[in-house]
């Protein structure tokens, strides 16, 4: 009886809001085709083996073997460590740089508009162009940085950034941060507009120094937007393919391989569509977890206001 009345209530609500559902139906259909079906197919494919001499329709069902292969492969540990370093380092440093830039640009000064535009350039330059330019800046034989270092007596020979297994990943992270920090800057600049000026002035009158004003007044107001920014950066970095692929191809010797480049190589280089799909599912699960926290952070303010 209870269940029946709940179902009737739900049905009644759906019928009552049927026009609303019609409005979102086109978007839902697009999402089903472009997002839901590929996810379903990828999950399905992850249970199959796809040898190079067989068409996809002749693929062989192998259950969870692809997941075992991925998780027990020699490279998985190394690639996972690379991915964590790439994601965490890029996110934290880009966020902190963006915060610093946002705080600096929050005050009025001569040339503020020009500087803001200048700092936006890395974000608007295409990732492909940026990767190719930085590849030449870093070039181990003829790069600008190496040449300057030799010219200034800092080094006897050009510096090896991306052809060195110890520095390749860090070098790519620098490029990634350079591209991303302006996104954090924009998000945090918007967040800074919500900090009441009166509170800051009151704190100043009470004798709070700059750090105390930031920590006790500004930072609490930036909590929500900071969380959203960090989560968005993490999601973007987990999926970031262009910079490592173009600049190093995941090398040298896998030193800059991250999950997404491994997946690409497995799928398009080795045609191990099943294994690549299993890897993608693992990545998807991680993304969903991050996405859950992102939505929670985004709607936390709404829940509070509703209370």
């Amino acid at each position: 009886m209870g269940n029946s009345s709940r179902k009737d209530g739900l049905l009644a609500q759906i019928i009552a809001h049927r026009v609303d559902y019609l409005y979102v139906l086109p978007a839902l259909i697009v999402m089903l085709v472009v997002i839901a079906y590929p996810i379903y197919y990828t999950v399905e494919l992850s249970f199959y083996k796809t040898p190079a001499n067989l068409q996809m329709k002749d693929k062989i069902f192998i259950g969870l073997d692809n997941y075992v292969t991925v998780l027990t492969s020699r490279s998985f540990h190394k690639v996972t460590v690379n991915t964590v370093i790439w994601t965490v380092a890029s996110t934290i440093v880009a966020f902190l740089l963006g915060l610093g830039a946002a705080l600096s640009l929050n005050r009025e000064f001569q040339g503020r508009g020009f500087l803001r535009a200048l700092l936006l350039i890395p974000y608007v330059v295409s990732a492909v162009s940026a990767s190719l330019i930085w590849q030449w800046i870093y070039h181990s034989d003829f790069g600008v940085i190496g040449a300057l270092a030799v010219e200034l007596g800092l080094s006897e020979e050009p510096i090896n950034f991306i052809d060195n297994i110890h520095t390749a990943l860090a070098s790519l992270i620098v490029v990634n941060i350079w591209r991303e920090f302006s996104f954090a800057m924009i998000m945090l600049m918007a967040g800074l507009q919500t900090v009441p000026d009166s509170l800051l002035r009151a704190a100043q009158v009470d004798g709070a120094n700059a750090w105390n004003r930031f920590w006790h007044v500004t930072a609490p107001h930036l909590k929500g937007v900071s969380m959203v920014t960090v989560l968005l950066l993490m999601v973007a970095n987990f999926n970031s393919f262009i910079i490592p692929w173009i600049m190093t191809g995941g090398g040298p010797a896998g030193a800059s391989d991250i999950w997404i480049t491994q997946i690409y190589e497995l799928a398009f280089g080795r045609q191990r569509w099943g294994t690549a799909s299993a890897y993608s599912v693992i990545l998807f699960v991680v993304m969903m977890a991050l996405g859950y926290f992102y939505v929670k952070a985004l709607t936390r303010g709404d829940d509070r206001r509703a209370e």
Partner: protein, 493 residues
């Protein structure tokens, strides 16, 4: 009775005459009679002697395969000229499509020029969605995978107006899967060793003679680096790049190694040879240049041959292995240089020399490269296949005229009759060093003709190089690791 016998004899004579006439004038027989190219005599002098000795009418020949007024649709993907290509390649490309349109004005053609490193991926993806083009021209390594999977139409040279004898045996091997042919060679090429004679002279080396062996090349590279402070040899060792095996495999084969047994007379493509003592010696040679002598670009691990072009034209790199088109590319770069750079570039061009790729203890070897053109089966083509239009294009593309012209700077005609055309004569007269790269053709070895070849050549072999050169593994361990991966791959893992 006598009259009946006479009648039968007359009929028989007439039939014989008609049959003889049909054979004499059929395109296939005409092609076989015209193919008077003796591969056993192959040499720069022989190539020059046969150039310009025959004329061909492409439209006329192809009209016997598909009428010139045929109305249809065609889609084709191939890798055409890019930013690194010499200008003349772009010009000839435009001429080809104009001539095609003039010959077959009623075949509506959608032609897509797809980057070399992307074409295979794009084609695989399209096939999965039954959205492939009708015709695709793939690099020589690429087609067998799709033939093995059943995506390609069986097609013999006779189907497009030519004969098997019109193509290199090695080239036909690359389009053969389980005894059947699935494509036609469009062009075949072998690379050569290119060096800067001035750098050689400045480093105390004979400017007019290349290193005779791979061991000599290692020594030359070291001497150039030690005396002049610039890299000697333009090593290429990037992961996931086709350039890498094209330069490393000649070295591997020369020492007596191989990925499988592809360099042997009768390969079975089952014997892994990446970790034989000979293969390890070849890998050791690369290690010596990169790690021990530091005589090659440090950036080799992320370079393709494209990245070698700038230091070469700047006089900062002494030797590269490259296509015949490299000379035309250097001339283009020189023409575009300005100021002090122009003088340097012109000097480099004037001092460019081509020679045979060094030999090793086992042999002199070069990758038998090139491209093949394939027709995709109807069910995998976006909008369905128009077989007649496809055959018309294949006939046109692999004709003596166009297989020669389209290979102008970078390759050689896949159709051997192309070596007899006036255009071949013009090429030999105008393109420096073409006789050198042409004479390497008999030393050509195709990559293993198995569907797993792209993974072996583009991933496992470069990985092996990178593991050894970065010190991630010792030379022995890197070779053993690569051999293990190939064995796993062939074992179905």
């Amino acid at each position: 009775m006598k009259s009946a016998f006479s009648f039968a004899r007359t009929i028989g004579t007439l039939a014989a005459l008609l049959t003889t006439a049909a054979i004499a004038f059929s395109p296939m027989e005409a092609s076989a009679q015209d193919t008077s190219i003796d591969l056993n005599k192959w040499s720069p002098d022989y190539v020059r002697s046969i150039a310009g000795t025959a004329k061909f009418d492409t439209a006329g020949d192809c009209s016997k395969v598909v009428p010139l007024d045929y109305k249809g649709k065609l889609s084709v993907w191939w890798t055409g000229p890019n930013d690194a290509s010499p200008d003349i390649e772009r010009t000839i490309n435009d001429q080809f499509w104009a001539a095609w349109k003039a010959a077959y004005p009623n075949i509506e053609t959608d032609a897509q020029n797809v980057n070399y490193n992307v074409l295979l991926d794009k084609f695989r993806t399209a096939l999965l969605g039954n959205a492939a083009p009708m015709v695709v021209r793939l690099q020589i390594l690429g087609g067998v995978e799709f033939a093995a999977k059943g995506y390609l139409h069986q097609i013999n040279p006779e189907d497009v107006g030519y004969a098997k004898a019109d193509f290199w045996p090695g080239a036909l091997k690359s389009v053969t899967w389980e005894g059947k042919t699935y494509g036609i060679p469009t062009n075949n090429e072998t690379m050569a060793l290119i060096w800067n004679a001035k750098i050689f002279k400045d480093a105390g080396l004979d400017p007019e003679n290349p290193p005779a062996t791979w061991d000599d090349l290692v020594a030359y590279s070291k001497q150039i680096h030690d005396r002049l402070g610039i890299p000697g040899y333009g090593l290429v060792a990037r992961q996931n790049a086709g350039n890498t095996p094209f330069r490393f495999m000649p070295q591997l084969w020369a020492y007596g190694g191989g990925a499988l047994d592809e360099a042997t007379d009768s390969p079975n493509y089952k014997t892994v040879m990446l970790n034989t003592p000979a293969a390890k010696r070849a890998l050791q040679a690369s290690y010596n240049m990169y790690v021990r002598d530091k005589s090659v670009p440090v950036s080799a691990l992320t370079n393709t041959q494209n990245e070698n072009q700038a230091p070469f034209i700047a006089g900062k790199l002494a030797m590269v292995i490259a296509h015949p088109s490299e000379y035309a590319k250097m001339m283009d770069l020189s023409a575009k240089a300005t100021g002090a750079d122009k003088k340097i570039a012109e000097e480099v061009v004037a001092n460019m020399r081509y020679g045979l790729i060094p030999k090793g203890p086992a042999r002199r070897a070069v990758v038998f490269g090139g491209s093949n053109i394939h027709i995709v089966k109807d069910e995998y083509v976006d909008g369905g296949q128009d077989e007649m239009a496809a055959k018309a294009l294949v006939c046109f593309w692999t004709s003596p005229e166009w297989s020669t012209k389209l290979a102008w700077t970078g390759s050689n005609p896949g159709n051997l009759k192309g070596f007899r055309t006036e255009w071949m004569k013009e090429r030999l007269d105008s393109i420096r060093f073409l006789d050198v790269t042409t004479s390497m053709l008999p030393s050509g070895i195709p990559f293993p003709v198995i569907p797993e070849a792209p993974e072996i050549m583009n991933i496992i072999v470069p990985d092996m190089l990178q593991n050894a050169l970065t010190g991630a593994m010792t030379v022995d361990a890197a070779a053993d690791d690569a051999a293990g991966k190939v064995e796993d791959l062939l074992g179905g893992f």
